[in-house]
């Protein structure tokens, strides 16, 4: 077993996270894409930890899981709030701050 496939996998995951943020308008998907990006970093951290043979990477990953949880809480809250405001999950709807609307 070599680390390269892991690297490729992490890269793909991170990229897919970015793609998800950009291409989707569904706020849940956007939120999960961000989680995905962070998770792929976790994979890398765990991998490095394994390669280095120390536990630092794993600990960082563990802390990251907490960070992910924290972000998730806030994300879910804002999604709920927005859904309550506009009855939609479409991120494009929330564009009242565009230059056109403020000029």
């Amino acid at each position: 077993m070599t680390p390269e496939p892991f690297f490729a996998l992490a890269t793909l995951l991170f990229s897919m996270g970015i793609i998800g943020i950009i291409s989707r308008r569904n706020l849940f998907v956007v939120y999960m894409s961000i989680e995905l990006m962070l998770s792929s970093v976790n994979l890398i951290l765990a991998l490095f930890s394994r390669l280095h043979g120390d536990m630092h990477g794993s600990v960082i990953a563990l802390l990251m899981i907490a960070v992910i949880a924290a972000e998730a809480a806030l994300f879910l809250a804002i999604i709920v709030l927005l859904y309550r405001q506009r009855r939609t999950l479409d991120s494009d709807v929330f564009s009242k701050l565009s230059q056109r609307d403020t000029l």
Binding site: L43, D54, V59, L62, L63, I65, I68, A69, R84, L89
Partner: protein, 169 residues
């Protein structure tokens, strides 16, 4: 060899899970795919002999975060017509995929630049005990402030999500 095939299966799950997550129209399907991906990730942690991380991933990421997300998804109960119409979804994906390529290339090339092979792990690697030892010897400060982070996030989330009578302009 066994490891390789396990890796292949987990990787496939992970990839399809995340691919599904970003491409399903229905939120709930995306959520479920994401759940799958997260579980596969947990599997990969296990494959990397990181048992504690595996546990944490299952318990926190999967068990708490994703499941709560699913619950929220269900609770907002989005029906078909409230979902965003995304006719150009795949075109956007293509565009962003093209744009993301240089980044991915850079990332991959940098990662593989690290010429390291998997070595045999020392005894107790990935165990709770070693994890705890590292955490509480070297990483006390981050661990401490993560608690503040969680607290702050919680306060924030409560403020944001709390229902209040809408009376101010």
């Amino acid at each position: 060899m066994l490891e390789n095939s396990i890796f292949a299966i987990l990787a496939l799950f992970l990839l399809f899970g995340s691919l599904g997550m970003i491409s399903f129209k229905q939120t709930i399907f995306s959520g479920l795919s994401f759940l799958l991906a997260m579980m596969a990730l947990a599997g990969l942690f296990a494959l990397l002999e990181n048992s504690f991380l595996f546990l944490a991933q299952i318990m926190v990421s999967v068990g708490a975060v994703v499941v709560i997300s699913l619950l929220v998804m269900l609770s907002v109960n989005v029906n078909e017509q409230n979902l965003p119409k995304e006719p150009a979804k795949f075109r956007w994906m293509l565009l962003s995929a093209i744009l993301v390529t240089p980044f991915a290339l850079l990332m991959y090339r940098s990662l593989t630049h690290l010429n390291r092979e998997f070595a045999e792990t020392t005894a107790g690697y990935g165990s709770l005990k070693m994890m705890g030892a590292t955490l509480f010897s070297d990483w006390v400060l981050p661990f401490e402030i993560v608690s503040v982070l969680l607290l702050a996030a919680m306060v924030g989330a409560i403020i944001i999500a709390r229902k209040e009578p809408v009376n101010d302009a």
